[in-house]
C-alpha cells in the first residue's frame, strides 16, 4: 500500500536536488552600467602601464635582443619645464630598456640623467636617495629591484611635481614614457616577419586618453613645441591603432608610421633648446653616458633585432 510517507521522501530529495545548485552557485555579477564606465577613476600610477609592463608582455610573445635597443641616456639642456617633464618619462623608459638588457652602466647613466633633469625641475631633493639606490642595485645586478626602483623614482618625481603645484607636468611624464615604450615595442614587432606581438601594443583608447589629457593642459604648457608634437603623435597613433581588418602589409605600414612618429617625438624631447634640431649633449659632464657598443642613436630602432 502506498502511503504519504512514500511520496514525502522523493519529494524531499527532489527539493534538495533543486535547491543545491542554487546554493552552491556564485551569484552572477551584473555588468557595469554605462554611467559606471563613464565615471570610472583614471589614475596616472594605475591606469597607465609603466614601460616595464609593456616589455614584460613583449618578452612573452617574442624575445627582443634588448642589448641592441639600449640608447645613450642624454637629457636635454633646457629651461622649459614641460620639455623636462617629458624628458623624465623618456629617460625612465630608457632605464627599463637598460634593465631588460641587464646593462648596469646604462642604468647608472639613466639614473644620473634623471637626477639631472629632476634638479633642473627643482624636484631633486627627495630623489637623491632613489638615485643612490639605483646605483647600488646596478652595482649588484639586482635587475628586478632596479625595475621597481625606476618606477618608484618616476612616481616620486611625479609626486614632487604635485606637491610643488605642478600637477599638470605629471601627465607629460606619463605620456612620454608610454610613447618611448611604444617606439621600442613597435620596433621590436616590426623586426619580426609575422609582426609577432602586434596585439600587445594595440592600445588605441590609452593613446586617445593621453592625447585628451595633453589637450586639457593650460595654454602655457600646451603651447610648447614638444608638447604639441607629443599630442599630435598620440592622436595619430590612436587612429592608426584603431584600424581593424588590415592586411599584413597594411598593418606593417601602419606600425612603421607609428614607430616613425614616436621616434620623431622622442628625438625632439631629448633635443636641447640651444641645439636647434641636433641631438642634445649631456646635461652635465658627469652625466655623459659611457659609450656602449650596443647603443644606437635615439629614435632609430626600426631595425630592432629579435632573438628567435
Amino acid at each position: 500500500m502506498v502511503t504519504g510517507r512514500h511520496f514525502a521522501i522523493p519529494a524531499l530529495l527532489l527539493t534538495l536536488f533543486l535547491c543545491l545548485p542554487a546554493r552552491g552557485a556564485t551569484p552572477a555579477i551584473p555588468p557595469m552600467t554605462e554611467a559606471q564606465r563613464g565615471e570610472a577613476v583614471f589614475l596616472d600610477a594605475m591606469s597607465i602601464p609603466c614601460p616595464g609592463e609593456v616589455f614584460v608582455a613583449l618578452n612573452k610573445v617574442c624575445r627582443p635582443n634588448w642589448a641592441t635597443l639600449v640608447t645613450p641616456a642624454t637629457a636635454p639642456v633646457t629651461t622649459h619645464r614641460a620639455q623636462l617633464a617629458l624628458a623624465v618619462g623618456v629617460l625612465a623608459a630608457n632605464g627599463y630598456i637598460a634593465v631588460e638588457a641587464q646593462d648596469g652602466q646604462q642604468v647608472r647613466n639613466v639614473g644620473r640623467e634623471i637626477m639631472s633633469v629632476a634638479k633642473a625641475l627643482g624636484v631633486s631633493q627627495s630623489l637623491l636617495g632613489r638615485g643612490n639606490s639605483l646605483m647600488e642595485f646596478a652595482e649588484n645586478n639586482a635587475w628586478e629591484a632596479l625595475a621597481d626602483e625606476l618606477e618608484a623614482t618616476e612616481n616620486e618625481v611625479k609626486a614632487t611635481m604635485v606637491e610643488q603645484k605642478d600637477r599638470d607636468l605629471v601627465c607629460l611624464t606619463s605620456a612620454a614614457a608610454w610613447l618611448r615604450g611604444l617606439e621600442i615595442a613597435s620596433g621590436v614587432v616590426l623586426a619580426t616577419e609575422s609582426l609577432q606581438g602586434i596585439e600587445v601594443i594595440r592600445q588605441p583608447e590609452l593613446a586617445s586618453k593621453l592625447a585628451a589629457q595633453l589637450g586639457a593642459l593650460p595654454p602655457r604648457l600646451k603651447g610648447g613645441a614638444q608638447v604639441a608634437l607629443t599630442r599630435e603623435a598620440l592622436e595619430s597613433v590612436a587612429s592608426l591603432l584603431k584600424a581593424n581588418g588590415l592586411s599584413q602589409q597594411e598593418s606593417r605600414n601602419a606600425l612603421q608610421k607609428i614607430h616613425d612618429e614616436c621616434s620623431v617625438v622622442v628625438k625632439s624631447i631629448l633635443t636641447s633648446a640651444t641645439a636647434l634640431g641636433t641631438p642634445a649633449p649631456a646635461a652635465s659632464p658627469s652625466a655623459s653616458p659611457a659609450p656602449s657598443p650596443a647603443s644606437k642613436t635615439t629614435g632609430t630602432n626600426s631595425s630592432a633585432s629579435v632573438t628567435k
Binding site: 555588468p31 594605475m46 612573452k60 631633493q125 636617495g129 618606477e151 612616481n155
Partner: protein, 172 residues
C-alpha cells in the same frame, strides 16, 4: 733678560685658540645639513589598508609577479561599488588585490572588459588577521590588450561608516 714675560706663550695660546675654533667649527658644520644632501624627512608611512594590500600582493611575488608602485585608495559604502580604469596586456597575468582594515568587512574585486562584462578568472578572499578586516583578490589573464575596469565592492561590514580600502596590482 726678558722684559715681556708673556710673549713666548702668546703664539702657543693663539695656536691653541685657532685649533679649538677649528674643532668647534667642524663640530657645528657636522650638525648642520649640507646643502643638497637628503633631508631627514619622516618616512611616508603607508595606510593600514595599503599595508595589508601590499602584504597580500607580496605572496604573488614569490610566484614571479611584480607589484606596481601605484595605489588606488578611498572609501567604500555597502551597495555602491567603485571602479578604476586600467590598461592590460594580452598574454600577461594579473592579480588585483584590495584590502580594508574595517571590522567585519567583506570585499569583492571584479575585473571587467571594456564593455563592462565581468571577466572569468580566479578569486581569492581572506581575513586580514587580528583586526578582522578583509582582503580580496581577482586574478585574470586577458586575451586582448586594451582598456579594462576593476571594480571593488563592499559586500558586508560591521560598522555603518564607509570602509577605507586600498587596491594594488601585480603582473607577470
Amino acid at each position: 733678560m726678558n722684559n715681556r714675560p708673556g710673549t713666548p706663550l702668546l703664539p702657543l695660546i693663539l695656536v691653541g685658540l685657532c685649533f679649538a675654533a677649528l674643532v668647534a667649527g667642524k663640530a657645528v658644520a657636522e650638525d648642520q645639513p649640507v646643502a643638497g644632501a637628503v633631508k631627514n624627512r619622516a618616512p611616508i608611512l603607508p595606510s593600514e589598508s595599503r599595508r595589508i594590500a601590499l602584504e597580500t600582493a607580496g605572496a604573488f611575488v614569490n610566484d614571479g609577479f611584480r607589484i606596481r608602485d601605484g595605489e588606488w585608495n578611498g572609501t567604500l559604502a555597502k551597495g555602491t561599488p567603485r571602479f578604476l580604469q586600467v590598461t592590460l596586456f594580452a598574454g600577461e597575468n594579473y592579480w588585483f588585490v584590495a584590502a580594508s582594515p574595517a571590522r567585519g568587512a567583506m570585499l569583492r574585486v571584479t575585473v571587467y572588459d571594456a564593455a563592462g562584462k565581468a571577466l572569468k578568472g580566479e578569486q581569492w578572499k581572506g581575513e586580514s588577521g587580528n583586526g578582522g578586516g578583509a582582503r580580496s583578490a581577482a586574478g585574470v589573464a586577458p586575451e586582448k590588450s586594451g582598456k579594462y575596469f576593476v571594480g571593488v565592492e563592499l559586500l558586508e561590514q560591521a560598522d555603518p561608516a564607509p570602509a577605507e580600502f586600498s587596491l594594488v596590482y601585480a603582473y607577470k
